[in-house]
């Protein structure tokens, strides 16, 4: 398989890697860099478990080739955790039982954080719509909506 050298920024660190043309960004993050908070649930862009930030917007790491990351700025849940920028959402998810197995959660958190940046005072219906690209098979979604709503209302520290 042809290999391609890339340089990108991942969670604030410069990463130089030589990637196979077939590798997805999810492969690079998980297998090469050990950033296992990015989960892989379908590898065809539907479940949302692999959601990451790519140049500031959410993207599906299973649908991006690792080679496309050249020059990009990427953030995973590990990075968002370290910076503290989603701490309120993380606490709200924990407090409201907005996760059970936690497999969908990294994607849910990053999708919810992006949504709240653009929609500081959303309705429950808007929250549900915003999370329509992230499957959760364990919760009834309600606790997830509760957690996101609590952060929007500022009732979560």
């Amino acid at each position: 398989m042809p290999m391609i050298p890339i340089t990108c920024t991942i969670n604030g660190e410069t990463v130089e890697a030589t990637v196979s043309t077939r590798d997805t960004l999810a492969d690079l993050l998980r297998d090469t860099l050990g950033l296992t908070a990015t989960h892989v649930g379908c590898e065809h862009g539907v479940c949302g478990a692999c959601t990451i930030l790519f140049d500031g917007r959410t993207a599906r790491a299973c649908l991006v080739l690792a080679a496309q990351a050249d020059g990009a700025e990427i953030e995973t849940l590990e990075g968002a955790t370290a910076s503290g920028r989603i701490a309120a959402l993380q606490k709200a998810f924990h407090d409201h039982a907005a996760l059970q197995c936690g497999f969908c959660t990294p994607g849910m958190l990053l999708a919810a954080a992006e949504f709240l940046e653009d929609h500081p005072a959303p309705s429950r219906a808007e929250i549900r719509e915003a999370l329509s690209g992230n499957l959760c098979r364990c919760t009834g979604y309600q606790a997830i909506v509760d957690a996101v709503a609590a952060v929007a209302k500022g009732t979560e520290p």
Partner: protein, 783 residues
């Protein structure tokens, strides 16, 4: 137990492990790394039914990076085949199943060969180079053809029928002959599956020097798998260790032995190197356990006054080509026979469940196991009969419910229910909402031409089975759980429990029980689950049992540790142990509450200066195991759905959903509530969206998440949860019933009843799930 239990039992504390998970520190099987790890990919049958004439692995084996290619015959040199038998069902035909098909493939997606390589990508490339000469055989896809047609899936059996279960009690014919109204219906339930978002997977590591197998396994029942791997792979069970780390959902799908999974273990044995495999999503859809492909002919007989006289159900269900192992595929049919009419008093039943083999994926246990079928058949028939008699369907339910005065209720199905709390559930529903107003609102909407309807389903959930089912049936599945507690030198408590977690929260419930039993703060207890090398051999997660069974073991271990701590303290303090208590982690004088010793002091003396304890060897450890003597513990409740149907598109919109539930002692309402909601949403998926579609050749047509629709947030409304509280059972245990399957058991029934209420405006009805727009429009005569 009737005395109130100490905190934090009953407290809505968040699930402890989720704090780790929200910070991205989960460790699922796919996150585990081991040195020299190899990766597997499977070659799977592209045919529903075909003979394997030859397999050429030459090109695959020659691919750089490929370490080995194994056929079914290769794997069979170290892995015995199995039969999914069950001793309680001696007539069950269970054909021999190999890990990988050897001469005939019987479903599309059945594993046939296994490539092991230095990366998954190389293994997949090489798998595509395995050349198999196939002779396609006639495939049997739908249940009726399987039962009635000529083609045989296992020629040596001479039939496609796996099992017929039947039960008759009371004078059914007389009841129907004397009935004022008889309602009958043919129901069709779509085959669906659990879809855990983390797919099945494992890493098998074999050390040939000690013949020691260590498996990291995304599974609900690691102890069961330890036993299965040992027996089938010819290993000493005490040298097999199965570790279930974080598991990304299970729902019954990660509860059986899978041929592909044990083949990975066999490959690790053959190579003496660790091998990893995780299903991709297409493999999940074709090779995960499916469930609930049923066709049910049902009848109910009602008196003029609205008394239920009798049920008559004939269930045909299709289970794929084999009986699942080790639990068998008897469970779904068994639930239909045993639980039709479960919430109600009636005198006679005739029930038959016929399981047939077919050329589709394996089918068996998914959350609720047959109970959603029994519930939907019962509730839809009751609605139809009540309408036929000109009676109010909800009044008919209230009239016939099993009441406290009827307990223990010996149902004509042969099941005895020790405890059901429907009176409390209806009282709680009536306190929560104005049912009549809600029904008027629907009726008014219908009068205005809208298709709005309300459905109410009463359900019974069988939880926490005793050993009379699998144990007596000769199936190596534990119905017990165990708990070991150790007091560490600085006063903390370490717990090793045989329960397992896929997110449901039982771990936190067990921690609460231990903290309450010993008398320490929640944070003073840590717990380890999902490792067969450290914990008692226990059942893990199946049949809504972790809290009821594992929680009980934890309580008993906690009380035993507490007793020893008090005994040591009494000896050191020259006091009477009965005059001491443990509160908030401190040994206190029971009368005054004054602190006497900390647990850290007890731990330090016990571990480092045991000679100071007069007349005793401090153990600082306590264990208990527990298995219920009862066959099961029933939970019960009501589910209410309000739906509105768009007459143009046929789409069903959920407007309101209410669950009333009674499950004995609730250890953690926060976690119980969302667990029930999650179950409801899976039942709603079955009712409205989810169906595995196959063609007549046994080809799966919708094996991706883009085509197989699971509910997403916008399709679901908020689910109102009301807990009803009934008098505790009064035994010597904590009185916990399981909740895991409650939501799924009643949700499809409630939706189907609501849809039919809505359709009644146009004189239409439907008896099939999922209620897709196409089926709704067909029922309405629009298409």
């Amino acid at each position: 137990m009737t005395a109130p239990l100490p905190a934090p039992i009953g407290a809505p504390v968040p699930h402890r492990r989720t704090w780790r998970l929200v910070h991205g520190r989960g460790r699922y099987v796919g996150d585990v790394t081991v040195p020299r790890l190899l990766h597997a990919a499977f070659v799977r049958s592209p045919h529903g039914h075909a003979r394997i004439d030859a397999i050429d692995v030459g090109a695959a084996a020659a691919t750089p990076g490929v370490v080995a290619v194994f056929t079914g015959a290769d794997i069979a040199t170290v892995c015995r085949p199995w039969r999914g038998v069950h001793g309680l069902f001696p007539s069950l035909n269970a054909p021999l199943q190999h890990a990988l098909a050897i001469d005939t493939a019987r479903w599309s997606g059945e594993p046939v060969a296994l490539v092991v390589a230095t990366s998954r990508a190389i293994a997949e490339d090489a798998a595509a180079l395995v050349v198999i000469d196939w002779t396609p055989l006639p495939a049997v896809a739908d249940p009726e053809t399987a039962r009635d047609g000529a083609a045989r899936i296992h020629p040596d059996l001479g039939t496609n029928v796996c099992l017929v279960q039947s039960h008759e009690s009371g004078d059914v014919d007389a009841a129907f002959a004397g009935a004022a109204v008889v309602a009958e219906e043919t129901f069709r339930f779509g085959r669906h599956t659990g879809v855990p978002i983390e797919a099945r997977g494992l890493i098998a590591d074999f050390d040939p020097t000690e013949r020691r197998l260590t498996v990291h396994h995304s599974h609900q029942c690691p102890h069961q798998m330890q036993n299965d791997f040992a027996v089938l792979l010819g290993l000493a069970e005490h040298r097999v260790r199965v570790i279930a780390p974080d598991v990304g959902g299970g729902f019954g799908i990660k509860q059986q032995l899978y041929g592909d999974e044990i083949a990975v273990c066999a490959a690790a044995m053959l190579l003496g190197r660790p091998v990893a495999w995780t299903a991709d999503r297409l493999e999940s859809f074709t090779a995960d356990i499916h469930a609930r492909e049923h066709v049910v002919q049902g009848r109910v007989a009602l008196s003029a006054a609205g008394d239920i006289l009798a049920f008559d159900v004939d269930d045909l269900h299709a289970i794929g080509p084999y009986s699942q192992f080790p639990r068998s595929s008897a469970g779904e049919g068994r639930a239909v026979v045993a639980q039709t009419g479960a919430p109600y008093r009636f005198g006679a039943i005739r029930a038959r469940a016929t399981a047939v083999f077919q050329n589709k994926g394996m089918s068996g246990h998914y959350r609720g196991v047959g109970q959603p079928i029994a519930c939907a058949v019962t509730e839809v028939l009751l609605d139809k009969a009540a309408r036929g008699a000109g009676l109010d369907p909800i009044a008919v339910r209230r009239r016939n419910l099993v009441r406290a005065a009827d307990l223990p209720w010996r149902a004509p199905t042969g099941v005895t229910y020790p405890r059901l709390a429907f009176e409390e559930c209806f009282a709680a529903l009536d306190a929560h909402l104005d049912l009549e107003a809600l029904r008027r609102d629907c009726a008014d909407a219908r009068a205005n031409g809208r298709l709005r309807g309300l459905g109410l389903a009463c359900f019974v959930e069988m939880t926490s089975r005793g050993s009379g089912f699998y144990g007596t049936g000769g199936v190596a599945v534990s119905s017990r759980d165990g708990c070991t507690l150790r007091l560490e030198p600085t006063g903390g408590i370490r717990c090793l429990s045989s329960i397992t977690e896929q997110g449901q929260g039982a771990e936190t419930g067990v921690l609460q029980v231990i903290a309450a039993a010993v008398g320490v703060p929640l944070d003073a207890v840590d717990l380890l689950t999902g490792d067969t090398a450290t914990s008692f051999h226990g059942g893990g997660t199946w049949g809504s049992r972790c809290m009821a069974i594992g929680g009980e073991a934890a309580w008993r271990a906690g009380r035993a540790l507490r007793a020893e701590i008090l005994d040591i303290a009494a000896r050191l303090l020259q006091a009477d142990a009965g005059a001491l208590d443990i509160r908030d982690g401190v040994v206190v004088d029971a009368a005054t509450g004054g602190g006497r010793m900390t647990l850290a002091e007890i731990g330090a003396v016990g571990h480092f200066r045991p000679h100071e304890v007069p007349g005793a060897q401090p153990q600082l450890v306590a264990s208990a195991s527990y298995g219920s003597e009862a066959p099961f513990r029933p939970g019960c409740g009501l589910q209410l759905a309000v739906v509105e149907i768009d007459p143009d598109s046929g789409a069903v919109r959920l407007e309101r959903f209410v669950v009333v539930h009674e499950c004995g002692l609730v250890v953690n309402p926060l976690l119980v509530d969302e667990q029930i909601r999650g179950g409801v949403v899976q039942g709603l998926g079955a009712a409205l969206f989810e169906e595995l579609l196959y063609d007549s050749e046994g080809q799966l047509l919708n094996g991706s998440l883009a085509d197989y629709l699971v509910p997403t947030a916008p399709e679901i409304c908020d689910i109102e949860l009301v807990h009803a509280h009934a008098t505790p059972a009064g035994g010597d245990d904590l009185g916990i019933a399981g909740v895991g399957e409650a939501g799924t058991t009643g949700a499809s029934a409630a939706v189907l009843c609501a849809v039919n209420d809505a359709l009644s405006a146009r004189g239409a009805s439907i008896a099939q799930i999922p209620c897709t727009p196409e089926r709704i429009l067909t029922a309405l005569g629009v298409i």
